[in-house]
Symmetry: C2
Subunit: 396 residues, 2 copies
DNA sequence: GTAACTTAGTTAATAGGTTTAACTAAGTGG
DNA sequence: CCACTTAGTTAAACCTATTAACTAAGTTAC
């Protein structure tokens, strides 16, 4: 379980400065409009330290000053916000159905987004295509003058914990691809951070990092699409993304929910993906791979088979949610992925199962809130951009 | 997911010193016999810094110097070890079947251990009994002269993430017990750190912290006893123990492995505990609560019912292991808990199932090693002692 | 056997970060 | 208008790690 942006275990004064700078930025991110005094109170740093760091961040275009915040019977403080005018973060999501790119501000506001539908191809061709799109986007007047802090790329499969290598993406047919190295020659002029992560991890990170208002303590994001995966994020100023020994953290699609059940393409029986995944639903309903799943299902209307299949898939999703609740116990659960577009016939049974069963262990506890992202087209790409920000904040 | 001993997110020079001191101690713990130069190389600190901190730790009885370590063609370095002569760590495990107490050195060597069999009773009576045992142990000549760094207590149920409160222990009949506060009046003379944690979390922590040789990157410990739980630990110098929003991390006994299966005492159906737990095995074989489970099963010899029940339980355990592998992806899996004493008829099917299925996702990867602790009587208590050490190391 | 070399560890001066304490700034309330 | 409160800045002090030069203690080459 290696964390992405965790502070190292030993360090010098420069490290301490980085830590505090990052902590101050995180405070402004979580409490927009905070004053220097607010930050000092929250971080336990002194006014002097906060003042100096804030001054530097203002000069470098990371923070901007806002209006005066009246205080009861004293000098009003100056509100501080992330400066959304001088930098840009890029995030790209390589999916089975195409590429999605996002450019956003330090606050997570999406400035530009592009989506290209294309069939899976080789890493090199994908990189060439992606580079072209990024170069074009980079010249858009909306962001051309901004300093680009880096590019985060997400892929639909486990990424090795230590090096940025995609281990396996069955839906793309890729094995052990160091995609950033493939991409780099196509974008020689690009400087800034380069990051690679699993799509669900990045989405979870983004939902946590760019959360409106004070983020929850921890988030588990379930990505239900062609396959099914999940990502977990926690930590205050340094969000942690556990990856595991082999980068398999969150590969819940192959957790067993029905021992002795249907055969999965992974070779085991009763994997979650045999019940709730794009391919399982296609198989159950006889929908071809080249058909659009959502359209095909809508076309069948109130067909009973469709209803039963979606209900079964939803209930399996509910089981997965419950098991994640009992294993990772996040503060918030987020559901995303293209399957959410199949609508309430799938979502409702999942939520109902989870609601009905989650709380029997600790009666009287507040329930875990579930957030459904009905259209998560750019969620992963935006999450990748968030990771760029988190990394750059340490270097700022 | 709140970590126990993680560095805070912002800090002053004193914090930096703590961080480096703890990091140096951790290096000696993981690499016994390391020299000052070795430590400097591993921690990226300078020789000067390491020298100063080591000097202070030698004077305070945390480290001791050993023999000279010959170096190729240069002055030999002085080996450093954790000083196992001046301090003592106490750990106590409150279980369904009684109390277990351990006193150990900074290196995790058990100096004294006591076990008392008793039926569950009230928190106050348990605290009184525990205090008596601890006081007696404290006067044992083997540890009477040592400085006690603190006491860690483990309980068989989820502990709230922020405060040391046991949320629920069905097997003890306890609900929302701030056990340390109950215990404190019984041990007024005791100073040092007081810690409370879930039994599986503590066991996992101990297996990681006191690991012989370089510990793995992460450990998941599965505790199979009356109920079933798990704990996860990761992190180099600051082992992290995720607890989750409600302290439910690792409550895998109530993850669903057989939807629509048997009813569990938690109210759901098909929980793992309905297949692999002390009470499930008793129920299946008609063994009374007051009988010793292991003895009753041995008495039945090669009875076919016993074989089938244990095999089923083992396979369910294998499913749990596989699901944890796909959700948390630890570097090492550890199996413990009193059920391990039921022997190979249970363990073998679990290992076989895991072996046969774990690797189908990432072919060619090295397999996840599984360690079975056949007698884990003192594993949790020792883990609690490890947590005391980790906490004290920051204050040293 | 001695000089050259290598590695370990210590020391004093230096650099750099945060804090302390005193200050200025800018409001409210009587 | 003065007392009070809170925000933010500044310079000196303090603390920590680093640098660079040193001593210590071994091996290797000749």
């Amino acid at each position: 379980m290696v964390s992405t942006f965790a502070p190292q275990a030993a360090g010098d004064l420069n490290f301490l400065k980085k830590l505090n700078r990052s902590s101050i930025l995180a405070t402004v991110r979580r409490y927009p409009g905070a004053t220097r005094a607010d930050i000092a109170a929250r971080t336990q740093l002194t006014k002097a330290t906060v003042g100096g760091v804030v001054q530097a961040l203002l000069e470098r275009g990371w923070l901007r000053e806002g209006e005066l915040q009246p205080r009861g019977g004293g000098r009003p403080g100056r509100a501080l916000y992330l400066d959304d005018a001088h930098h840009v973060l890029l995030g790209a999501d390589i999916g089975v159905r195409g590429l999605r790119i996002v450019a956003c501000t330090l606050g997570g506001e999406v400035l530009l987004q592009r989506s290209v539908i294309q069939a899976p191809t080789t890493p090199d061709e994908t990189a060439a295509h992606l580079a072209e799109l990024i170069r074009a986007m980079r010249h858009d007047p909306l962001i051309a003058d901004r300093h680009c802090l880096g590019l985060g790329v997400t892929v639909p499969g486990p990424v090795a914990p230590e090096q940025p290598i995609l281990r396996l993406a069955p839906n793309l047919g890729w094995i052990d691809v160091a995609f950033l190295e493939v991409l780099r020659p196509h974008l020689p002029e690009f400087d800034g951070a380069w990051l690679l992560d699993n799509e669900a991890n990045a989405a979870a990170f983004g939902e946590f990092y760019f959360h409106d208002g004070i983020p929850p303590e921890s988030i588990v994001y379930i990505s239900a699409a062609s396959g099914i995966g999940s990502g977990m994020v926690t930590g205050d100023n340094f969000p942690l993304v556990p990856r595991g020994g082999q980068g398999l953290v969150g590969e819940i699609g192959h957790s067993i929910v029905q021992p002795g059940g249907l055969y999965c393409h992974c070779g085991n029986r009763g994997c979650a993906e045999t019940l709730v995944s794009g391919w399982a639903i296609r198989a159950a309903l006889g929908i071809a791979d080249d058909e659009n799943l959502e359209a095909a299902i809508m076309a069948r209307g109130d067909d009973a088979d469709v209803g039963i299949t979606l209900r079964r898939a939803g209930e399996a999703l509910g089981v997965l949610m419950l098991n994640l609740h009992h294993t990772l116990n996040p503060t918030t659960l987020v559901l995303g992925g293209s399957l959410m577009q199949l609508g309430e016939r799938l979502i409702e049974p999942a939520l109902a199962y989870f609601e009905a069963h989650q709380n029997d262990l600790l009666r009287g506890t507040q329930r875990v809130p579930v957030k459904v992202i009905h259209d998560s087209t750019y969620t992963a790409a935006r999450g990748a951009a968030a990771q760029v920000m988190a990394k750059a904040a340490l270097e700022a």
